[in-house]
Symmetry: C6
């Protein structure tokens, strides 16, 4: 079983394929660590397109995306950025956590994300028309509410939105087993423990644990760590640094591990 | 039927032509995705003028508009920006979402937008007089209220303002059919669904769905998606990430799709 | 009748001439579009001095005014800015909307605007003494109250202040006729309409319509537009994007157009 | 009678001379336009030292004061700024409105303003010891209260503070007569008018009119303007743009002009 | 006894080794001066890997971490930063006080800290795959609560978190003796004094004294200082500059020193 | 009697020597002008080490401290900053008013101020190990409370803190006599006057007068100024610009001068 098979049962694959076929850009939404990045990698391999990934943050300028003029051997020469390279090469360009980017960096995407499908390189005085095989994909986590950063409606309305969520328990346990080598009973307990905490999310207002932290805990267990120590280090500690909340979480987690021992 | 015919019946075409004839700049207002960009492209083709488009954002400097001094082969040479190129070439220069630009970038437009019709390039020590065929067009969405950004009265009063709105249902369905290839019944249902949501706009305080998202949904449907899935991905998901609001929207949309089945 | 004759009857011309004769700088105040820029152009032609205009904004640096060091052919050479060129050439330097400029840019004006009449170019290590024919003129709109920007008393007290206002109705109608070619009845109606709205300014708190927008409306009418459409596009639409206020304005404007039909 | 004689009767001249003799820096305080700049020029001529003036503002960097590295003919060469030139040349360096400068620019003054009397040029790796004839003089207006800008105690305590104020009425009238050529009766009326307004300062909270504006008004009168028009343009208009306050001021000024007709 | 033996008894060493073996990044949390930096140095020596340390702060850019383009001999050449050097050399890269860094600098770590274990050098157009021996370690002090800086959940969830705390009293006294040369009774008193203050932390809301300050105090004592003077200079004075709190602390400290005289 | 003898009686000298001997950095705290800078100069001469002083402020970058890459003769060459020069030369590096510096500049000090005693020059890819004779000294004024700037505990805990205060009256009068040449009775009156004001500090919330201002006043008196005028210009005027407070201070000062006439 390869990681590519995780997404076999969902409707996401079909929707993504239809958007690709219709030359429409895609926006992936969902909680941290639910598998958005892997899904894009999976679709890239399925559609036979390379994936160019850009992790967005506050300090990315539009020049970091499209390219810049550089002095080389005394001359000023234009250098394509990762977005321009992706457009020219007909790749899937994936902007991870696009909500973190500054709005001005996103403006260069407007003409790529509507019927024009073109990239305007004003400083190089060039217009790059995207080939059929180019696709723009962005992602963000709507649960991570920030008062400062919101995507503008005029931006969001340019995308086919595919909402993703955590895998179903059975499927998530498959992933944990495959990626860490622990036996299925351990994986089931870890997944149950995570779902117990995810259910308490509304009360505690923290970002719930992702599949990624379960795999990390399972790998520590596979390397000899006790289950509760691995859960503490990988699942609980990143959630909160408040001592009182930490104690509450440890009780929930222990209960989850115990309850996970019986098949659910 | 080509996209140029969408605007055949409105008074916008005549008003725009008169402003062009009188050498007056035009400001287009209206909701996101109601067709402002396409209208400018249409007028450019009607008047036989090329259109130079600049997507405005926070980080555009006046140098990005008018040009800058660059080192080339050891010498410092002036390079025209897109606005200067448009003025010199007698084109229509279209500043999309001008309200997003920084005020300082807009100051260079003042002398272009009044009786002087001249561009002052202080750093190049040059004054460019606009030819008769040059036209300045700006646009913004007045419904997108931001406490930080307002266009100054001294700026707004330099323009002939043309207020645009969504197309009439019949005409909007024409657009959906033409651009996606779905049959007319599907297009009518999609338009009805959009108008139902647009009517609920005042309550929910979000940017209503544009013609663009209807075309995107229709194209997914043409590619095999179920109507409700396409509406969810293209029309509803971009509107709000709040779960409760999302449920309400889905009910409104479903009702709209059903009601759209009978001719209205 | 030329545009230069608009100002023939006011005391502004004499006051400006006396300030010029006494080598005192002038500050023009008044609402947007009441003719400050044209007045300066008129005085320049009357006094036989060229006018160098700088539109002020947030991003102008003192280097943009006085000049900067540039690399030319491997050497660093000083390049005069528009202010320095105006001082050296004995021109009228006109800083439009000076309140928009950053305070630091204005500091270079201090020594020009008092008994020293000298420009200190610290970076070029040069002092430029202004010739008798040089004059500094600034303008701002005191009605455009901004909590962030105020001119410091130590700056305002360096100028002879000339307060300007809208032209008298007869004279404003002259301008509209001269610049658009409409017949006098239309011009009278437009001016009456504008004055009705200007009278409602205190209630609505917007910047009242300028002579400029009346000329624009008149030119659209001369090109075949209906009066109410031209007033809507040029006079009313720039005032407010609020629908309720817009309706109120349209009633006021229509009343104004009708009332303007009888000689006032 | 020359302008140098204005300060003949005050204790400021002696205090300044003693500070110069003891190598102590001086801080001048007082309202806008009370003659701080002229006083420094007067003392420079009295002590036989050139005066290097720097108008302080938000955007001055310490490099603008001390100098910077510049590329000249391919080499990087250090260029002294005005402060460094003043120190090396044993001049009086006068920082006008020092409160406007950024704190970081002022830090370079610390070692000059205490017993070290040295300028540390860190970037040029050089220490310049001030000669006996060098003197540092700063000024600011304590009445111009800004919540953002305050001089730090550790800065203020390095200076001998000389508090200045408006000239006595007789002496101020002398200045007005000497600099404008109006007859003494006019000058007396103008001074009386100014003092009436200055007395109302506490109520209206604006910066009171300076000797400078009286001279400007007198020069307009000498050029043929009516007294009330000259007072309006030079004295009243810069004080406030509020219409109600403006009316009140005009009454106070008219009363002042009338009352000034009798010898006070 | 070497400093490496301090950590012999804790579970931290095993957890760190397992994370290294599983190629998982580690996040160390704990109060200032509890020994995080020394622990990383200890683990580097245990695992036979060099440690590359970066002290994080507000002004570190991602270029400071990954490298930059520099002009060398007329050509633009890429220069690796410390992170890139650590990845290429298979070292432990330790980002001290990572919470102080700007978020944008941390974005480059995302792909290194998940299953990709790759560093994307966008500006050099290069992807560096981390060798098995590379390990990323970060640290921060959760007790130092700042309203402005929080690590995002999506960042924290990429790490195995190891929570550290002050050493047990016996072990801490060992460290003080070893590093300063004072006799054990003095060390015991200092540790007792520190623990008394640490217990009062909740009341006074300051950062409690670290092992580092005890070693400093002990070294001053070894050099001849009185115990109370050394405690005052190294332990109490850095805690608070408030006089009243300082008096309270001195009483607590004196009590602690006295109580520390009997074996605890 | 030389200025070096001022500190002969305090415990500061011994504590500083012990810190130097143990290679521990020192933090000096105390009010403005109490003699921190002179004390460092005194210790430098006592220990036979040169002192490199850096006045800290908002705009100092870490490059200003450690050095930067500069283009010299076409090549990019590293230039040591004052801190690096001090480390390499085994000098005392004194950062005056360190609380004014930006936190990012202080991060480079961390590794110098703990057991590593090393300076990491990341951009030059070099580690400079401090010689035994190098010492880091910082100072700040804890009474100057600013809501924006606080030294972090992790920074403060790296230093041996030596709290300084004003000199005892007898000793302060010695300084005044030595540095100005006034006779002892005048010096005693000035010191008494200063202590009266310092006692009123809690009420008025200003920075109390320093020894430096007493010396300045004494020097003006030596040059012929009246005592009350010299006290007004050097002691009172820098304290407050509020008229009411100024009157109160003058009464306190006059009382202090009078009371100082009898031996205290």
């Amino acid at each position: 079983m390869t990681s590519d098979s995780y997404f076999a049962g969902g409707g996401e694959v079909e929707l993504f394929e239809r958007a690709f076929q219709q030359h429409l850009p895609v926006m992936l939404t969902g909680p941290t660590g639910c598998g958005k990045t892997r899904f894009v990698e999976h679709m890239g391999s399925l559609l036979g397109r390379p994936v160019v990934t850009v992790s967005c943050h506050d300090d990315i300028t539009s020049s970091d995306l499209v390219g810049r003029l550089l002095v080389t051997g005394g001359d000023v020469v234009w250098n394509d950025g990762p977005l321009t390279r992706a457009v020219k090469g007909g790749a899937i360009c994936y902007l991870d956590e696009v909500i973190e980017a500054r709005h001005d960096s996103l403006a260069v995407l407007h003409s790529l994300a509507d019927h024009r499908r073109a990239l305007y390189l004003d400083r190089a005085d060039e217009v790059v028309q995207a080939p059929e095989s180019f696709m723009l994909v962005c992602s963000y986590n709507p649960a991570y509410r920030s008062s400062l950063k919101v995507l503008k409606p005029s931006f969001r309305q340019r995308f086919v939105t595919i909402a993703m969520d955590y895998l179903a328990p059975e499927r998530e346990a498959d992933v944990v087993v495959t990626e860490s080598g622990v036996d299925r009973a351990v994986a089931t307990r870890l997944v149950h423990c995570a779902n117990t905490i995810r259910g308490a999310d509304e009360i505690f207002h923290f970002e719930p644990p992702s599949t990624r932290v379960l795999v990390a805990a399972a790998r520590l267990i596979a390397a000899g760590a006790r289950e509760i120590d691995a859960v503490q280090a990988c699942v609980l500690a990143p959630l909160s640094t408040d001592t009182a909340i930490g104690d509450g979480l440890r009780q929930i987690a222990t209960a989850g591990l115990l309850a996970g021992e019986e098949p659910v």
